[in-house]
């Protein structure tokens, strides 16, 4: 299984595996850092009904929510895009109740997105992985993601949240620690423990 995943990494369109580890840890996304600094002001404006500010929040967070939805729902059809739209619709309705707690705004959005994804999965919109391995096409990538998503679902909830917030939401370990109310050291340990559990689950398959 791990060998297959390594092949997936090699074939990934945008993966930059040769990137330095410190770059990975920082979770930078091509100049996004600077734009993310504006999030608190954008949130305050959006809470007052400013659609333009909410649009900026959408553009800043769309990719992260989309990746999370695609991991769980697959990317055939508009399932992931619909889940993103539903997430932001619910966020728009809930924004007046949003209170800044020190955790990044994306952690709050991920909480909503998770509910949306679970609703979609319950409605049967998830694309199930195939029994046999398909040829190396776009579908193979979909299946591998869904295999990974199923393995993620079997992680203990705390470990799964760490993995989602760190790898899919692109949060730094310190930000994940703030979002989950734990120390950075605890998040570091949970991250590697989660990957260890994930490796065991994937090897079982």
């Amino acid at each position: 299984m791990i060998r297959e995943l390594r092949e997936l990494i090699a074939s990934s369109r945008t993966a930059n595996i040769s990137a330095s580890n410190s770059d990975i840890q920082a979770g930078t996304y091509g100049g996004e850092e600077e734009r993310l600094d504006q999030v608190p002001q954008l949130v305050e404006r959006a809470k007052r009904g400013d659609r333009e500010a909410f649009g900026e929040l959408y553009r800043l967070h769309h990719a992260r929510i989309f990746r999370m939805a695609r991991l769980h729902l697959g990317d055939l059809g508009d399932g992931a895009e619909d889940a993103v739209a539903e997430t932001f619709l619910r966020a728009w309705a809930a924004l007046p109740r949003y209170r800044f707690t020190g955790a990044p705004f994306v952690a709050w959005l991920f909480g909503i997105a998770r509910h949306v994804v679970l609703d979609e999965v319950a409605r049967g919109r998830r694309v199930m992985p195939r029994e046999e391995l398909p040829e190396r096409t776009r579908g193979w990538e979909v299946d591998d993601r869904l295999t990974l998503a199923q393995a993620l679902e079997r992680l203990p909830a705390a470990q799964r949240r760490v993995v989602e917030l760190k790898y899919l939401a692109g949060m730094k370990n310190a930000e994940v620690a703030s979002a989950l109310g734990k120390s950075k050291g605890a998040i570091n340990a949970m991250q590697w423990r989660a990957l260890g559990t994930l490796r065991e689950i994937l090897e079982e398959r």
């Binding site: 369109r13 007052r48 959408y58 989309f66 760190k166 570091n188 490796r199």
Partner: protein, 229 residues
């Protein structure tokens, strides 16, 4: 996974330790597999996604109009519900106070002034509670009984009857219960009967002799168990 491996992986991720060191310290496939998984997950977080502009154009048409100018601060309970709650508390408190006061008034244990006030208010409501003047002083009643007991010239049963009549006058006046007087001669008969019964059982020789009830005709028992003359 042991703690030492977790710490070494943290150091590697932070760029503080090269991969060679990690492999040397932790030989075997586990470390490499964990690192591959870490890289896979990182790659997943960087995969290309569709242009958000198209999604936003579709979404913005679906966004409902916000209620402009509403900022939620302070208590979240609506004002009319808070008023209802305050009224409810006030009514419940008044009901509890009336119940407690009424109960005390009915038991005639309130001070005179309070007893009269409650009786007046209750009277307007169609309830009957006694006024302080209606309630005899129970302390003086006890004193009266005691005086009769000390001063009456009668003896024995008659003295007891006299005291009993005075003592029960409270019940006659206020509880409308009139106890039936027991004539002294009947009481004496009952007393002698009981004594005879006891005597009979003492002389009995049968297995049930010791358990004979006081109301049983003792003479009959004695007769039945006594040896013939």
């Amino acid at each position: 996974m042991n703690r030492r491996l977790e710490q070494d992986l943290e150091r590697w991720e932070a760029g503080m330790a090269p991969l060679d060191d990690l492999e040397e310290r932790h030989p075997g496939p586990e470390v490499l597999q964990l690192i591959e998984l870490h890289r896979l997950m990182t790659a997943l977080g960087r995969e290309a996604t569709p242009d958000p502009e198209r999604g936003w154009q579709r979404l913005t048409a679906r966004l409902p109009e916000p209620e402009a100018g509403i900022i939620h601060v302070g208590p979240t309970t609506p004002k009319h519900r808070r008023l209802v709650t305050h009224r409810r508390v006030a009514v419940l408190g008044l009901a509890a106070a009336l119940t407690l006061t009424g109960g005390l008034a009915a038991a005639d244990v309130l001070p005179d002034a309070a007893q009269d006030a409650v009786a007046n208010v209750a009277g307007h409501l169609g309830l009957h509670f006694p006024h302080s003047a209606d309630v005899p002083d129970q302390t003086s009643h006890g004193q009266e009984v005691s005086n009769v007991a000390r001063s009456t010239p009668e003896e024995g049963c008659e003295k007891g009857q006299t005291i009993s009549e005075v003592a029960s006058s409270f019940a006659q006046n206020h509880l409308n219960r009139v106890p039936e007087p027991i004539p002294c001669d009947k009481g004496q008969a009952a007393g002698s009967h009981s004594r005879q019964g006891g005597q009979g059982s003492g002389n009995g020789v049968g297995p049930a002799a010791g358990t004979t009830h006081a109301s049983d005709p003792g003479l009959d028992h004695r007769g039945s168990h006594a040896p013939p003359d």
